[in-house]
């Protein structure tokens, strides 16, 4: 809800009131900072994309290389996201429904890809599957290619988006406990019935949010994919890599046109997140760590 003017969130507590001038100054500074660093860049994407008109915009989007980049991005995300969805649910089930030794260590390991530079996430696969890598000669002997081809893009994307679903689910499922599942099990429900009828309805919004974040990152990943792609136009270029190529060719309208699709994806992700948080806030309140 939008209030008419600024007010303190602590209305009934006079000691916590800041004078109006201070409130306005702080709000103004915060908004100016956000405008300068966050809102303006977002706006720029769309303005630059459209400044030659809609004709040039759409021409850049239906160009064959752009279309093949979009297709490849959908393909990579379409493989990586479901795999990480399954992994996220399985690992969250094992971690939150059972007590075992080394659990917190396992959670740290799952979070590991977040603290690794994306460039390194790509590089490790080059070291494994590249021509000088461990499996390189064997792969070449069998005429298989992983790095500089689609499988490498998929692997690097899975690595980078590895923790997204699991870390949305784990805090929530931890806070929900196991009583409901235990009751169902003692009444004779099978594991599949328990998950389908009890657990899944309890976690569905957090799951949706995790999948959305995972998908946004999978489609937008740049650094890791850049290392394993080899930049073959029309073959191994995902949308972010296509944006880079167009930009480096000073084809700014086309670069920003493709970028605007990715920005739209980000906006949709944020919109769904806001709606979910607003309507089912308590259902996903187990989360909110540090993103």
């Amino acid at each position: 809800m939008l209030a008419k003017s600024t007010a303190s969130a602590y209305g009934g507590r006079p000691a916590l009131q800041d004078p109006a001038w201070l409130r306005w100054t702080l709000i103004g500074t915060a908004l100016a900072f956000l405008a300068l660093f966050v809102a303006l860049p977002l706006l720029t994407v769309f303005i630059e994309a459209l400044h030659r008109g809609f004709g040039a915009y759409f021409a850049a989007l239906v160009e064959p290389d752009a279309l093949s980049a979009m297709w490849l991005t959908l393909l990579v995300a379409g493989i990586a996201v479901p795999l990480n969805l399954v992994f996220g649910i399985l690992s969250a089930w094992a971690i939150t429904k059972f007590e075992f030794l080394g659990k917190s260590f396992l959670i740290t390991l799952i979070d590991l890809p977040f603290s690794v530079s994306p460039v390194i996430s790509g590089m490790v696969y080059v070291l494994l599957f590249g021509l000088h890598g461990w499996f390189g000669p064997w792969l070449r002997a069998h005429d298989l290619q992983i790095v500089f081809a689609v499988p490498g893009l998929v692997l690097a994307t899975i690595f980078v988006t590895f923790p997204f679903v699991a870390r949305e689910l784990i805090p929530l499922m931890q806070s929900q406990g196991i009583e409901e599942e235990e009751a169902a099990a003692s009444l004779g429900a099978t594991g599949w019935q328990i998950f389908w009828r009890i657990t899944l309805p309890n976690i569905r919004w957090a799951l949706l949010y995790g999948v959305l974040l995972c998908n946004a990152r999978a489609m937008g990943e740049f650094g890791a994919v850049s290392v394993v792609s080899g930049h073959v136009r029309g073959l191994t270029n995902t949308m972010p890599l296509h944006v880079e190529i167009l930009y480096n060719e000073y084809n700014f309208v086309a670069a920003f046109a493709v970028a605007s699709l990715l920005a739209l994806l980000a906006l949709v992700t944020l919109a769904v997140k806001s709606v979910v948080e607003w309507r089912w806030g308590e259902d996903i309140s187990g989360r909110r760590d540090q993103g």
Partner: protein, 324 residues
């Protein structure tokens, strides 16, 4: 030059080719089956002295087994490959790769810019969190959603947008140019990109702590005669310190490894505005795998240290949180 073509001539002769993963896969299968026989992965009856506490719920072995196998294949084995490659260099080889002036200055650039951006984010992140938690103003929900944009916007998109904004012919860049400040294609540009990337880490870490701050503490301070400023410095800020430090460390760690948003705006001059992740890519493109391995390993060690620090800070934060 095509990377594939160049490397084909460097590859070992076909006679040396054998499937090196057979031993590994067989070994892994052996370990799993042995562990299963001895009940390591099974939910066992009785909790004391056992690795797993008994539970009536099904699926423990299956879910944990698949999770660990997937984790191992996707994350642990590749990272171990990097470590083993680095081990093959030896200390002197490692040091020779890492101690070149170009590598050292790349580390200097990455560290100082990430540090500067994290500091900016601590100040403005606290301000944004404060405004979002303490005040009500029109469009607040929109502003709240906007804070998460750097998480969701692909880094390459952020990179080209920031570059065209802060270039000397861009909206902001042209204003700054009149004052003689050049942002894009200088280290200052890197700081701008990393500030964009790191902002949500600080805001989203500080926000919940600020929300849970007991208002009574501030009221007590006030009734004991403290001014609002004194209350902020002596009561609020100390309570927020763990969260601020955590946010700082998260933003710094992210900034250190960031690639996509930086390379467009940085100018990438070796020694001046070349960051470590870019140098790794350059080494890889030159097939200097030893150099890339050494630099990458150093980066990995740095991020593990930061991860440890962040975990300790978060434990501290939780401890403080429960006390207050």
């Amino acid at each position: 030059m095509e990377p594939q073509e160049a490397s084909i001539c460097l590859a070992p002769p076909l006679s040396a080719v054998k499937p090196p993963w057979y031993a590994f896969v067989l070994g892994l299968a052996k370990v799993v089956s042995l562990s299963h026989e001895r009940g390591l992965f099974r939910a066992t009856r009785g909790s004391r002295g056992m690795l797993v506490r008994y539970s009536i719920l099904p699926g423990f072995g299956l879910t944990l087994g698949i999770s660990m196998a997937w984790l191992g294949l996707i994350v642990l084995v590749p990272l171990a490959a990097l470590a083993i490659h680095a081990g093959g260099l030896g200390w002197s080889g490692f040091w020779a790769e890492v101690s070149t002036p170009r590598v050292l200055s790349a580390f200097r650039v990455s560290c100082t810019t990430a540090l500067a951006a994290a500091l900016i984010n601590v100040v403005f992140g606290l301000l944004v969190a404060w405004v979002l938690v303490r005040y009500r103003f029109p469009g607040q929900r929109l502003v709240d959603a906007l804070v998460d944009l750097p998480f969701a916007l692909p880094t390459a998109v952020a990179g080209i947008a920031l570059t065209s904004l802060y270039a000397t012919n861009g909206w902001i860049g042209s204003i700054l140019a009149e004052w003689g400040v050049k942002v894009a294609f200088t280290p200052l540009g890197i700081v701008v990109a990393l500030t964009f990337i790191g902002l949500p880490f600080v805001v989203r870490t500080v926000e919940p702590v600020l929300q849970d701050l007991a208002p009574e503490e501030e009221e007590v301070a006030m009734s004991l005669g403290a001014s609002r400023w004194q209350t902020f410095i002596r009561v609020i800020l100390p309570a927020l310190t763990p969260a601020l430090l955590t946010g700082f460390a998260l933003a710094f760690a992210r900034g250190l490894g960031e690639y996509g948003s930086v390379i467009f705006i940085a100018g990438n001059m070796p020694g001046i505005s070349e960051i470590v992740p870019l140098l790794i890519i350059i080494k890889l493109e030159q097939f200097s795998y030893q150099g890339a391995t050494a630099i990458g390993t150093l980066m990995l060690v740095l991020s593990f240290i930061l991860l440890l620090v962040i975990n300790l800070l978060q434990a501290w934060m939780r401890g403080r949180h429960h006390v207050s």
